[in-house]
């Protein structure tokens, strides 16, 4: 509920120094597509300051005048029920934007007019952009635009954002609106039931005047919806869609990731290494800094590009087609077990491929609190990088039963998601109501190639800009720690065991004594696992000094070393210790790229909260697993 507006002064204008125009409308009315058309390439998506609510912003020149254009979160009314709607309401009413473009879906006018009835009462001038005229035409719904303009008392501009038709008229209407004086403020209370009823009666009267339904036809959407939301068939369709998304983000991206890794780390790294050796043979630290630090860091970041690009393309397709809301309906009852909405299913399943795009894809969840909660539990999903470690460790310690152990880890991961969600909810989100399903489903649409690619690119670019620094600097720090000699030897020439990294690993190792794996080689591998989980294996090899000059290592030797040290650190209960280690690996701090994605989506405070909580939670669970297994005699 928006509070009373006391002043017509725009707080936003003072902050940004130019007139502010906000696009306001219900979800799925074509608001973001219109924003893209108006903003062109100069647009940014990001969280509004001090919130986790995503707002699109752009500086647009209209008739020679620069304006700040805002794409606000979708809202059904100015009676907010979520942080997203609250922000939209605050910006439109309390912050006093200079003009509002109310985006109204011509095929669904009745649902949009409630919001327009409230917008008619704010101070800022309002322009109505009437979208989805093509969908209304196909359904045989005819809208009398002149009558609508008359009834609303506002300019109404029919526009087709996908083709650009009418966009210039919207720009002209914005320019005219900015020259209008602000109206007196009349809004006091919105969420009173009687007032809501009065507004709906007004909507009914307007509808009777402006809409002709005599030619309305039964829609294909109804028939498709009967299939995709059916209890059994709907679940099959959802699983098939998710399987395609999962396969595409892992299988398709995998060879490209491998090729990029080879190209950057071996190709470019080898080339630069040879070049530095030739011009500065006495400076191994320079080679280490450039090749093992900078190039390896950038390489780590870029290997995420294929998986991120594919993921965001598929997400944009699902959103733009209208299927995402149907998937949320089908998955709703499953996700409620974990206290999450149906839309959280997709990010969680994607997390089993890679946590990084999964955190970014929480944007599809909608409500900011549910999005944050989902983003905090995504790292509990066992990503493919962890799978590589499961397979390696299970192969060494469990032989024929390795497959069962790997499967067990996936069950552990699912349990951790449910438990993590419950704990985070208990600790930070007690206020989130467990509301039953009540959502509006958009009509199906053919996705627009331009919009889908532009949306995917915008998100990939955002990830590179905001997570890139964290990933590269972390890789550099690890390299630096491995290069600093503490027991003789030159900088970047010391064995790992004698480096600062080795000393830190030894200092950390005793923490894992209650979990049965307090060996420094393993503690060090877990530390570098923060860079990327698959690095755990090569880090072990490095810690045991098994890596040769071609960066390869002898797996048999590593197996023998690991068996010996796990047996020693657990006092003969190596099976219990290994299982505790695998559980810890599943639950502990996500990789640095995931933390970067969390920081981008939710800010430093929540990213740090996630890291610390997971670390503590993982340690407790690992200790519990080890101690219980040891007590029941698992050796």
């Amino acid at each position: 509920m928006c509070s009373e507006c006391q002043s017509g002064t725009s707080v936003i204008e003072h902050t940004l120094g130019r007139p502010v125009v906000a696009l306001v409308g219900r979800p799925n009315v074509g608001k973001s597509t219109l924003f893209s058309r108006l903003a062109g390439v100069h647009r940014k998506m990001g969280n509004w300051p001090a919130t986790t609510v995503e707002v699109g912003t752009s500086i647009v020149s209209i008739q020679g005048r620069d304006i700040e254009l805002l794409d606000l979160p979708g809202t059904s009314s100015l009676s907010p029920v979520s942080p997203d709607e609250q922000l939209a309401c605050d910006l439109v009413v309390d912050e006093g934007v200079d003009a509002v473009v109310a985006v109204v879906d011509a095929s669904n006018i009745a649902r949009c007019l409630y919001l327009v009835s409230q917008l008619r009462e704010i101070q800022a001038p309002v322009v109505v952009a009437l979208t989805m005229g093509d969908v209304a035409d196909r359904r045989g719904i005819r809208v009398d635009v002149e009558a609508l303009q008359r009834e609303l008392g506002l300019p109404v501009i029919p526009v087709v954002p996908r083709s650009g038709q009418g966009v210039e008229a919207v720009r002209n209407a914005i320019a005219s609106a900015l020259d209008e004086p602000h109206r007196p403020h009349r809004v006091l209370h919105f969420d009173d039931l009687e007032q809501a009823d009065e507004r709906l009666r007004w909507v009914g009267d307007v509808m009777a005047t402006v809409i002709d339904r005599s030619d309305e036809r039964s829609t294909l959407t109804d028939r498709v919806d009967r299939i995709v939301t059916a209890p059994l068939l709907g679940t099959v369709v959802l699983l098939a869609v998710l399987w395609v998304v999962f396969q595409a983000t892992t299988t398709l991206a995998s060879p490209v990731q491998g090729a990029l890794d080879d190209l950057i780390n071996r190709g470019l790294g080898g080339l630069v290494s040879g070049w530095i050796n030739a011009i500065a043979p006495a400076s191994p630290w320079l080679r280490g800094l450039v090749v093992d630090g900078v190039i390896a860091g950038v390489g780590t970041l870029l290997t995420f590009l294929p998986v991120m690009s594919i993921m965001f393309l598929l997400l944009a397709l699902l959103e733009d087609s209208g299927y995402m809301s149907r998937a949320a309906v089908v998955a709703d009852h499953l996700m409620r077990v974990a206290g999450l909405p149906g839309k959280a299913l997709l990010p969680l399943l994607v997390g089993f491929g890679c946590n990084v795009p999964a955190v970014s894809s929480t944007r599809s969840v909608g409500d900011a609190r549910h999005r944050l909660l989902t983003g905090l539990v995504v790292p509990f999903t066992a990503c493919s990088a962890r799978l590589a470690v499961y397979v390696f460790v299970a192969g060494i310690f469990f032989g024929d039963r390795a497959g069962t152990v790997v499967f067990l880890m996936y069950l552990v991961s699912i349990t951790l998601v449910v438990m993590g969600s419950m704990l985070f909810r208990l600790a930070f989100f007690r206020g989130i109501p467990r509301e039953p399903l009540l959502i509006e489903l958009p009509p199906y649409r053919l996705p627009t190639t331009k919009y889908v690619f532009a949306d995917a690119w915008l998100r990939v670019k955002g990830f590179l800009q905001e997570a890139g620094g964290i990933v590269v600097s972390t890789v550099l720090i690890v390299w630096l720690l491995m290069s600093i000699p503490l027991a003789g030897g030159g900088f970047a020439q010391t064995p790992v065991a004698d480096s600062a990294y080795g000393a830190i690993s030894r200092a950390v190792a005793p923490v894992f004594a209650p979990a049965g794996f307090d060996d420094w080689h393993t503690a060090g591998a877990l530390l570098t696992g923060f860079v990327a989980k698959e690095v755990v294996i090569s880090s072990w090899a490095q810690n045991y000094a098994l890596v040769d000059s071609t960066r390869h290592f002898n797996r048999a030797s590593l197996s023998a070393d690991l068996k010996r040290d796990f047996d020693r650190s657990s006092g003969g209960h190596s099976t219990a210790a290994v299982l505790a280690f695998l559980v810890f690996l599943t639950a502990y701090t996500p990789c640095v790229a995931t933390v970067g994605a969390q920081r981008r989506e939710f800010g430093w405070r929540w990213a740090a909260t996630g890291v610390v909580s997971q670390l503590a939670f993982a340690w407790l669970i690992a200790v519990l697993v080890y101690q219980v297994l040891r007590l029941i005699g698992v050796s």
Partner: protein
């Protein structure tokens, strides 16, 4: 009279009453109010219902559908 939950697929009904509950204001804003006509589109998992109200297509949980009393008017 019956509840919206009991309405058959393809049937059209008029809402008679919406029980008092926290979601009532939101339901009203979405068009689920006495006098509105609803068409049952599909029955979903765990008793959820997919209905058409005017131009909008809404998905409702079982408990929401059970809180709405309707009177069937016709079959599409």
């Amino acid at each position: 009279m019956s509840t919206l939950h009991g309405l058959a697929v393809g049937a059209v009904a008029r809402i008679c009453e919406v029980a008092e509950q926290p979601l009532r204001v939101r339901m009203t804003a979405m068009g689920l109010r006495p006098g509105a006509e609803v068409a049952m589109v599909a029955h979903g998992a765990r008793g959820s219902r997919l209905v058409r109200v005017g131009d909008a297509r809404l998905a409702l949980a079982r408990e929401v559908a059970l809180s709405i009393e309707v009177e069937a008017t016709r079959v599409q």
